[in-house]
């Protein structure tokens, strides 16, 4: 049994009206526990709809979504499903619930009915993980967009879910902020075994994941390991490769064999080796 399973799932907005938009069409894939997965594709390719289907915020109109073997369409499973799959959305302004940052982060664990000491530990851990611990007694509305997003991520971390879905959650952060979040996320994945699904436009981020699912027009166009970045169809879909991959591809084609690399550092090493 896979951790998250999509079996022939379809979802349309405004279904049955003239404005019907088929956002997800007959999508099947599975995600195993502990995987770091990138879900990539253009705006409007259905990525965010998939995120919402992952913990029952949207229910499939046909097909089946299962988390830990539990059907998201069965209401009595929802509490357990949402405890195990947390989502961080695009816009942090829609995710703040409290007037003080540490209260905001504590909101999730409080609702799980944990004892105060455990809540304190989780809030401190979560805020330190995103580098916002020193702001814990401030008000969220006074933070910049990027800082708010880090608080939203901390709010999900404090629930200690088995899986975290980040729906373009780094898109408002500066490069250093993006890197910090990627570091937090990869650490949680490697050290705590947390399953992470990154929905992203940044192919550099996808290059750090174990598995890549490429969406196009509501369907899965490609999926596989990191080597998917070297699949020519990716470029045909109009997606921009990370520059390290595209430079490596061009060098390989010119006969200078640098192999398949995924980061600028790997590229530099490979170039030096092949000279």
């Amino acid at each position: 049994m896979s951790f998250i399973e999509f079996d022939n799932v379809s979802y349309s907005y405004s279904a049955g009206t003239k404005n019907e938009v088929k956002a997800v069409k007959n999508v099947s894939f599975s995600i195993e526990k502990g995987e770091l997965v990138a879900l990539v594709g253009h705006n409007g390719s259905g990525k965010s709809t998939i995120a919402k289907l992952m913990n029952g915020l949207l229910l499939p109109q046909s097909g089946l979504v299962k988390v830990n073997g539990l059907d998201t369409a069965d209401k009595k499973n929802l509490f357990d499903i949402r405890k195990s799959v947390g989502i961080v959305f695009q816009n942090p302004d829609n995710q703040m619930v409290a007037t003080i940052i540490e209260d905001d982060v504590a909101f999730g664990p409080e609702n799980l009915g944990l004892d105060p000491k455990e809540i304190r530990e989780r809030v401190d851990f979560a805020l330190k993980s995103v580098g916002m611990y020193e702001y814990r007694e401030d008000a969220p509305f006074r933070l910049s967009g990027g800082q708010k997003q880090r608080i939203a991520i901390a709010g999900v971390l404090a629930i200690c879910p088995e899986a975290m879905v980040l729906d373009e959650s780094t898109s408002m952060l500066d490069p250093t902020g993006k890197k910090e979040i990627m570091e937090v996320v990869t650490r949680l994945n490697r050290e705590k075994g947390m399953t992470v699904i990154m929905i992203t436009h940044f192919m550099e981020e996808a290059a750090l994941c174990d598995k890549i699912i490429v969406m196009n027009d509501g369907s899965v166009a490609l999926s596989g390991g990191r080597q998917t970045l070297y699949d020519d169809r990716l470029v045909e879909l109009g997606l921009k490769l990370p520059m390290s991959c595209s430079v490596a591809k061009r060098l390989n084609k010119s006969g200078m064999n640098v192999g398949e690399v995924y980061t600028p550092e790997q590229l530099a090493e490979a170039i030096c080796r092949s000279l």
């Binding site: 401030d138 006074r142 990027g146 500066d174 250093t176 902020g177 436009h201 430079v247 170039i271």
Partner: protein, 282 residues
Amino acid sequence: MSIVVKDLTYIYSPGTPFERKALDGVTFTIEDGDFFGIVGRTGSGKSTLISHFNGLIKLMNGSLIVEGIDLSEKYDYKKLRSQVGMVFQYPEYQLFDETVEKDVGFGPKNLGLSAAEIAERAKNAIELVGLDYREIKDRSPFELSGGQMRRVALAGVLAMKPKTLILDEPTAGLDPKGKEEIMQLLLRIKRECPTIVMISHNMDEVSSYCNRIAVLGGGKLKGVFSPKELFDKEELVAEAGLSLPMPAYISKLLVERGLNVSASSEDELVQSILSIWGAKNA
């Protein structure tokens, strides 16, 4: 001179436990015709700074002259806002009207223009952002794709015919193709609205489009640079929470490994690597 900033200081919630200095003695000038970039880490004061430019934040300390209007005195804020167009982050969240045409015409309507003139301005602005006026004018802005919505929001600001356009991360959240389209669009807009000021975290964008770049850090101005000057200051780039444009970064990694590579584009990078390889194998 489009915008003259002198000794600008701003403190949020002064005199309370939440007091925080957002801007600290910032002085610089944005010239007419600049494509001016503002960079810095989240929380460095960028948004506070640009909110001053059309009077959304009242001057606390220092002086500010925008398009000849002195904001340290009593001024006509309607006039200011018709000259300085402000496009916020994710401007599509500000769309509200029933149709695209009405939404875009909302600003001109508030200027008290005639119906014919409002329609004319809406049409021009919608065409300026590259949308098909006849096809889109009667549609609801909420039925459009994200990229189209952002263009409509931009048209709403352009319909005011500003002389200076200020944008807070205009390409945030768009896919690479959408980002490129918006940047190309800004170049076209610049022919009619000559001064553009843009906050960005995207080093590739700033380096390819802006002629001058102000770096903010902790509310202080670290300097105003040309793209080339800025990238030579590696420490400053890192401090501003930015990364070098990718070709420059890969070049730097190769230089550290003893290769003589200096590239500002992917093509240059590939060519210089191949020529080193070719020379070794000759």
